[in-house]
Symmetry: C2
Subunit: 224 residues, 2 copies
DNA sequence: GAGTCGAAGTTAACGTCGTAAACATAATAC
DNA sequence: GTATTATGTTTACGACGTTAACTTCGACTC
């Protein structure tokens, strides 16, 4: 007796409920973060009974993980867009090493950009997977979900490889640097979102982010 | 009819319910993180009715903020202990500059140490303050709570000042570096806790943390 | 095409949570 | 010794996640 005006199939069967729920839940996360992803609200917004969701998700946590994946996808895409826009137009990168450095900076800037533009999604993208109550502690089936899961991480790692192959960073220093780079940029993002840094003007943020990126990159490339 | 075997005063009036609730809630957070701090459970564990908590806290969010403060205190104390133990025994710090650098490293190591030793509390220490539903958006009265609130942050800032006064870091580079330092160490902590870095051996973590700290400090002090 | 069968929905119900309102009791002030 | 006030209690409400049992639709066989 619900879904009288369905855009889908018959009015009873939705046709694509899974994706509709993910979309609704993602909207919830967009303003409100992960804790705003409530299963009943998503179902309500799609016009379906709460328990219908259980045909497509094992529960609220599963739905939240789908949202998390959306967030990770958005983050990675913003980073790629930022790097592509910043590196492709051959803006004064005299040599390959400088280009690699610019790419790294652009990726970091994209990271921050996404976190500030979509704080709710960003937080959802890094929310903890719900305790697998079966005690097994394993994250369950996430095979191709993992393709996007920490793609941002891999993007940074590849950029760091570029720093090495162009001779900008000593190879023996490479190990562990993706952690350092990711930590710096992620820490900055959460600091800006809900850390002690209250409200900063956009330009303050930008100088701050630029400074942090410069410091880390200098740490990577400096000789001494 | 509750609290038959109270350690406090009469059996009806508790005597120090506020602190008892904070303690119980902190225990909840210790294993389970911020989302495990449920008001009813804390009251239950103290042996008091759920609504009794409302005589001492405005609600669940307020209780959570008290736990958050406990977490921040623990973090700051671990950092101070780490720095004190590492710097006081005059271990080969040839000059003041080197000592300042060592202190900064020790503070960072303490930060990571606490995050790994008390993951639940650490997460609680950085949980978002609950949306002040009155729309004012202000965090409310936290006057002396703020003394501990981001003390970890101030510790890092002071250590960075030491880096400048000893001439190890150019003064014009100082601005914003507490953000960078904090971001690096905080990002590393969350990365270790629930990021893509699954289970690492303690020594792997330590080399990782040491590497990250070295990179950032090199970024601060390097000449080029 | 009529009949069956599983996938994808529904309603009803349970236990838990946060919270408000009204009531009860104990400590304190006069 | 009584009135007041701080601090508990009981009761109740609505929202949430989740389970169980029922219903409806679409697809596949004969």
């Amino acid at each position: 007796m619900m879904r009288t005006e369905g855009t889908g199939k018959s009015g009873y069967h939705h046709g694509d409920l899974r994706n509709a729920l993910i979309e609704a839940a993602t909207d919830l996360a967009r303003d409100g973060g992960p804790e705003a992803v409530v299963l009943r609200a998503a179902a309500r917004s799609v016009g379906v009974s709460p328990t219908a969701a259980y045909r497509h998700f094992t529960g609220q946590g599963d739905l939240l993980m789908a949202v998390k994946e959306q967030g990770q996808r958005g983050l990675a895409e913003t980073m790629e867009r930022s790097a592509a826009g910043d590196g492709a137009e051959g803006d004064g990168a005299r040599d390959a090493g400088e280009a690699a450095e610019e790419r790294l900076k652009a990726l970091g800037a994209g990271y921050i950009e996404f976190a500030l533009a979509e704080p709710g999604l960003f937080r959802a993208a890094f929310c903890r997977p719900p305790e697998a109550a079966d005690g097994s502690g394993d994250p369950g089936p996430q095979e191709d979900s993992a393709r996007w899961m920490y793609r941002s991480f891999r993007l940074l790692a590849e950029a760091l490889d570029g720093l090495v192959t162009t001779g900008r960073m000593p190879a023996e220093r490479r190990s562990g640097t993706e952690i350092t780079a990711w930590a710096a940029v992620h820490g900055l993002a959460v600091l800006l979102l809900d850390g002690p840094l209250g409200r900063l003007s956009p330009e303050q943020r930008d100088t701050l982010a630029a400074g942090a990126l410069d410091t880390v990159i200098r740490g990577f490339t400096a000789s001494e």
